[in-house]
Amino acid sequence: MVKYLVRRVLQMVPVFLGVTLILFVLRIPGFLPGDPIKLIVGERPLSAELRAQVEKENRLNEPIHEQYVWYVTQALQGDFGNSYQKNRPVAEILGDKFPNTFRLAFAAILVEIVVGILAGIISAVKQYSFWDVLVTLSTSVLVSVPVFWLGLLLQMFFGIKLKQWTGGAMFLPITGMGDPPDLVHLILPAITLASVSTAYVARIMRSQMLEAMGQDYIRTAVAKGLTERAVVFRHAMKNALIPVVTYIGIDLGALMGGAILTESVFSWPGVGRELYLAVLQRDWPVVMGGVLVVVLIVMVVNLLVDISYAVLDPRIRYGGAAE
């Protein structure tokens, strides 16, 4: 187990360095449109001394490899430099936005767990019934819906139409204004963000349940006279859940990295929207710092998922696990 763990953690190092390298190459002047000095001080004319001073402050005059080593060392200590646009430390900006992203991610995961797993179980237990067809069809549709369009439709229906029809009684707030946003603001963005993954959870759960229900131990459980409920929930579901838990874990990592589209559609003050705006404004320190933290979170969550999987299923530990 320790050997597996060490190998798994060591695999993360080159990936992390690769990500920092790509991000850093993006910042090399000339590679990206825009003069970094102008991005920092704006369009006004600049005297030579002042220019040299700004260059020195941001270490833009040093050789590129020295800048890289310096950046990585600072980043590992939690210092991602200052934002070009906001004149604030990047770490502070991210610190403001991450709690909102976490809130949204956990709400979305809740939707996935409750709706996805239940739909999967019903669909498998009542295979080929009306409900099964409904779940199978709606999951195909859900994975094909562009999330931002779903967000717009929900806004249109719950935010505008229901308000018009019911005189405001059924109105759901459609944007995530307020900091921190109220719980009621979470409903529509969480449904939007969860939509695609919920469909996948339902599909995986369905196929796993169908496989589990065909096993010998289920036949034994039925034969010894257990109720259907006990067979489904105590025997079949337990084994079917493992791949679903893995999927949800990986998805949690992805969702915590911020959801650009959902956050943009609902003006949710999270990391995804902040990073998107930073790209538009060419605020590279924010982009680099943000992506670095997001990648780290994703990698650590995936590591935890892999560890829990290895604990649950010994075959992974011993089976080489080349990938």
Binding site: V143, P146, F148, Y200, V279, V291, V294, V298
Partner: protein
């Protein structure tokens, strides 16, 4: 059945005749030829069945997949022939010749937008961008993925580690953010959108192809081909690729749907196809502010994306079942 035969080491010519590893026909009609028992004995009067024939027979029974296929063909026909009838009947997609924000009616089935363009015409012309970006982006991913996957799976060693770790780095990046950053470098516009989506798509295809190569590399018929002096490229194209083609086709079909969604998202965010070229994502971004007064602006472009992507997903699902491909998700 034929899928199993292929794995056991007896490939087929395109016509379906069994051949050995060197490409020689197993059924040899020349006088004095030794016939190999059981190999290539096709009963007279029965039509030869190939892997693709079998797959097509199975696919035809899948109503949803056929519905998807019909819908895609319909969209392609409509959008390619659009120049002949859409501007004449409904209006030019870029000219602002009508009143703004007309509700859907017989003359404007999907209404008009804020500056008086016919939404139906724009949705039809928007299909060109979506389909072209989808197909071209996946084409780039396939070419990159096959090349890198082949290098990594066939030669192994340092090259393998290098390619696979690069793939890991690509997977570690948040997808949409990576796409947006690439477009920030390349600049917006329709060529850059499919280039960016294409570049981002190679790692999955490289992984699929690499694992196919690993499973085929050690088989006897590849050994035999190598012993007969076949070049690496020939082994790759004649012996490895045919065994990997089924998962590749399934994966590419589904990826086209994904690329269409990504293009729409990028255009919605203003990083993709630029006005006045009609694109479904761009139309949705213009519609957002008018959601309350002109819901048709939001509904129809989104509906077009949904049905098109759904068609590719259903086709991909159907082909997966028909070709009996095992996939992770």
């Amino acid at each position: 059945m034929s899928a199993r035969n292929r794995k056991a080491g007896a490939p087929f010519t395109p016509a379906g005749e069994p051949v050995d590893a060197g490409g020689h026909l197993l059924k040899d009609d020349r006088p004095g030829a030794v016939s190999i028992p059981g190999a290539g004995d096709i009963p007279p009067g029965r039509k030869t069945r190939t892997l693709w024939g079998d797959a097509w027979t199975r696919l035809r029974k899948n109503k949803l997949a056929i519905a998807g296929l019909v819908w895609v063909i319909l969209i392609i026909t409509v959008t390619l022939s659009a120049d002949l009838w859409v501007p004449q009947t409904f209006g030019d997609p870029t000219s602002t010749e009508f009143d703004g924000l007309l509700s859907p009616s017989a003359t404007h089935p999907f209404g008009t937008d804020r500056i008086g363009r016919d939404v139906f015409a724009r949705v039809i012309y928007g299909a060109r961008v979506s389909l072209a970006v989808g197909v071209l982006a996946v084409g780039i991913s396939v070419i990159l993925g096959l090349t890198l996957g082949a290098l990594s799976g066939y030669y192994g060693g340092v090259l393998d580690s290098l390619v696979m770790r690069t793939a890991d780095i690509f997977f570690a990046f948040p997808y949409m953010l990576f796409a947006i950053a690439l477009l920030a470098i390349l600049g917006p516009g329709y060529q850059n959108v499919f280039i960016a989506i294409g570049i981002l798509g190679w790692p999955s295809i490289a992984r699929v192809f690499r694992s196919s190569i690993l499973s085929v590399k050690e088989t006897e018929y590849v050994d035999a081909a190598r012993a007969m002096g076949a070049s690496d490229l020939r082994i790759m194209l004649r012996h490895v690729l045919p065994n990997a083609i089924a998962p590749l086709i399934v994966y590419s079909t589904m990826s086209i749907g994904g690329a269409i969604i990504t293009e729409a998202a990028l255009s919605y965010l203003g990083m993709g196809v630029q006005a006045p070229t009609p694109s479904w994502g761009g139309m949705l971004s213009e519609a957002k502010a008018l959601m309350g007064v002109a819901p048709w602006l939001t509904i129809w472009p989104g509906f077009a994306i949904l049905t098109t992507v759904l068609s590719f997903v259903l086709m991909g699902d159907g082909m997966r079942d028909a070709l009996d491909v095992k996939m992770k998700d």
